[in-house]
């Protein structure tokens, strides 16, 4: 059995972030991590080397750009995707679609 896929969710709404990470961790194939700010996100990028990075809400363009740049420096670079909806409605779909597209 392969180890769970690390997925980093980043967003400034603490409760929504907690919900998203909780939903990720309900799937035994995934390991969810959450970051509410840029320093935490950059730290977790290095520490857990996520396969996917989900941008949820509240980040300004400059913050998202900084995280994106650092993520792309990783080898292999994680898949970057926007999460919409803030809960379980689209989360699984978005991840499945991204993994399909990347053929992970």
């Amino acid at each position: 059995m392969s180890s769970p896929l690390p997925i980093l969710a980043i967003g400034k709404h603490a409760q929504i972030l907690q919900t998203v990470v909780g939903l990720l961790n309900k799937n035994p194939a995934w390991q969810g991590y959450g970051a509410e700010d840029v320093p935490t996100a950059l730290h977790l990028l290095q520490q857990v080397h996520p396969a996917l990075v989900l941008f949820t809400n509240g980040l300004c363009q400059a913050e998202e750009a900084e995280i994106t740049q650092k993520a792309k420096e990783l080898q292999p670079a994680p898949i970057l995707l926007q999460h919409y909806g803030g809960g379980g409605g689209l989360l699984t779909n978005e991840i499945w679609a991204a993994l399909d597209a990347a053929q992970v």
Partner: protein, 238 residues
């Protein structure tokens, strides 16, 4: 030359949670069909039926325009912005989830099911301040015409959202014909047949069929029987 997509009612995804039966026109939750993800900026069209006294507990949303249209019965709404409301048949409810909103929705009836459409449209602006609105619509005004229930402008008829989208509903007697002119180049229209049968630009449709059409400026609508339609005009790309 118009481009079209047809989603017959029986091809929709089905989620049966006991208290909630949901027919899913597009991929949602655990229903994933890569060929049925969205129609332009229209991402979710759930045809929901909630058992008496049951509902969706408090849950979050962000960065999505969420429109609810009760078709039968009443839905009780509460959110963390202090809104407590009942939405009834003929009402349209909208939430711009933006930076984040928490809400619950329950069927307040102990006897009857509530049936409603849950529609999600991608916003054209992220991280807006969350907002809630609902409006009571006069269903009689939909008789043999299209009645606008949603637009991008607070000054226009119906509720408004952060997207260049226009929704219309109409109740047509058999034999009625009408033409719908799109508001904006680059937009398409997703027609959802709520009741009856209709022919849209040559495509025959039955109850709960969905039909998307784009690369066109007009739709020709003919009611083949007494029919109720929902037209959702949305941008086909961000």
């Amino acid at each position: 030359m118009a481009t079209t997509v047809l989603h017959k009612a029986h091809t929709r995804g089905l989620a049966d949670h006991g208290w909630l039966k949901s027919q899913l026109s597009f991929s949602f939750a655990n229903y994933y069909n890569p060929d049925r993800v969205q129609f332009g900026m229209l991402r979710v069209l759930n045809d929901d039926c909630v058992a008496p006294g049951m509902g969706f507990g408090t849950h979050p949303h962000d960065n999505m325009e969420i429109v609810s249209i009760p078709l039968d019965g009443n839905l009780e709404h509460k959110d963390n912005m202090g809104n407590t409301a009942i939405i009834r048949q003929g009402d349209v409810q909208v939430m711009s989830a933006g930076t984040g909103i928490y809400h619950s929705e329950y069927n307040g009836s102990k006897e009857s099911e509530v049936k409603f459409l849950q529609i999600w449209v991608f916003p054209n602006k992220k991280n807006v301040a969350p907002r809630y609105d609902q409006q009571a619509m006069n269903i009689a005004e939909r008789r043999n015409t299209l009645h606008q229930i949603l637009s991008p402008s607070a000054d226009d008829a119906g509720v408004w959202i952060y997207q260049d989208a226009w929704f219309n509903m109409g109740n047509f007697d058999a034999g009625q014909k009408i033409t719908y002119a799109l508001h904006k180049p680059g937009n398409g229209v997703y027609v959802f047949v709520l009741k009856g049968t209709a022919t849209i630009s040559g495509q025959a449709l039955a109850e709960r069929d969905g039909f998307g059409i784009w690369d066109t400026q007009n739709l020709d609508i003919a009611a083949d029987s007494d029919t109720e339609l929902l037209l959702m005009e949305v941008p086909m790309s961000a």
